[in-house]
Symmetry: C2
Subunit: 242 residues, 2 copies
């Protein structure tokens, strides 16, 4: 069974237009390359109840879930509490994380810093030498930070866990509009119902009018579908296949 | 009551990492400037059932809802059907849109083009001279296209509908880390529970360590909260207020 993923961005700063997401877009590209199908992204406010509801729902609906943001020492960092509530467990202070923070902050460690040692009771710590702070895994929910540099470093440290059968992609760039193309695509998806087929018009691109994407985990099937589409399309309408 | 919004991106191409969203990020910034609070963004696949469920839920939860993408003549354009199903109505071919398409495509009009004349039964057409094609409004759901240039043009044509009391923002840039800052912010939000207060660390910025954002629709209240924060913060820790 292909593996599915959901992404929860805990992001007042995104919703209020102050910051443009960089983490979901990174994760979508990386997960796709690993063969994982992202089925949903939610951007929600930094509010415990909403995070809890979303983590619970995503945890049930998808094989793996990633959260981004809302971890840290300040009042608006409530993701850990939300993920704990979703799992119906308490938040505890993890001794290994306390030790790590003590080593890092030395005498300057504050109560607020110690908030970063909090995890949902029963969470697993994923330790990797490439990252200073382990990644918290609660059930199937991976808790990642919001700062993009750290988000990427932490995801890269765990990425091989998610490698699945690859999803193969063919792009067909055509010089005809969607109005003409539609009948050909309808016929194609009727004949190949398992094919993932997208159609993306470009309105200011001189090279082509529509990019058609064909995707499958089965390369032989994909090649057959591609051949079928190319046979159906009017002569000279195919600009490029890539 | 402040007006809330939800954004639904119908976006296989975003979930599969092929395209980076430009519409939700645009809309979040614009709506915020208009005084509208975006409460949630969902990115979901181009699947009728999912669109219907999301449009129904968003339509109930938020004052206004925007969809982006999934409108057009091809098999993967199923947003209209999803929005109709959410409202429990049929999809009909709108005579005014048929006439518009006939005028535009002249003799080259295909059955597939006519799919773009489909609307949920009972939808309103928002006509504006700046856009060729009216925007479809079903209940409180505004159906917008996925192509960013057209998305923006269509939103800009209707933006004044959404103008509300402005949300004022003050940014305080500080040279102390979140571990020290946290206590001050906690005290501040205890004293000003209605204040929207965010804390955003920067790890590679030489100018400051954390950006603190204070927001309110009440400018006098915001100024008081800002004065309170500045009084609380250690001397010399404030780099800049903007």
């Amino acid at each position: 069974m292909p593996r599915t993923a959901g992404i929860i961005l805990v992001g007042n700063e995104i919703l209020s237009g102050k910051v443009i997401d960089a983490n979901a877009s990174y994760l979508c590209r990386e997960l796709r390359a690993l063969g994982v199908e992202v089925r949903r992204i939610s951007v929600i406010p930094d509010e415990v109840d909403l995070i809890a509801a979303e983590a619970r729902r995503f945890g049930t609906d998808y094989d793996v879930v990633f959260t981004s943001g809302g971890v840290g020492p300040t009042h608006d960092d409530v993701t850990i509490e939300g993920v704990a509530r979703a799992a119906g467990v308490r938040v505890i202070r993890h001794p290994a994380l306390v030790a790590l923070l003590e080593g890092f902050y030395k005498g300057a460690l504050t109560e607020a810093h110690l908030k970063m040692a909090e995890v949902p009771d029963g969470a697993e710590l994923l330790v990797d030498e490439s990252v200073r702070f382990p990644t918290i895994l609660m059930g199937n929910v991976y808790v990642l930070p919001g700062v993009p540099e750290i988000f990427r470093r932490k995801f890269d440290a765990i990425r091989e866990r998610f490698r699945d059968q690859p999803i193969f992609l063919k792009n067909v760039f055509v010089s005809i509009g969607e109005g003409i193309l539609a009948d050909h695509l309808n016929a194609l998806v009727r004949e190949y119902p398992d094919l993932l087929c997208g159609s993306y018009p470009e309105f200011s691109n001189p090279e082509y009018k529509v990019k058609v994407t064909l995707e499958s985990r089965d390369l032989a099937f994909l090649d057959m579908a591609l051949a079928e589409l190319l046979k159906r399309l009017p002569a000279d309408s195919v600009v490029r296949v890539a």
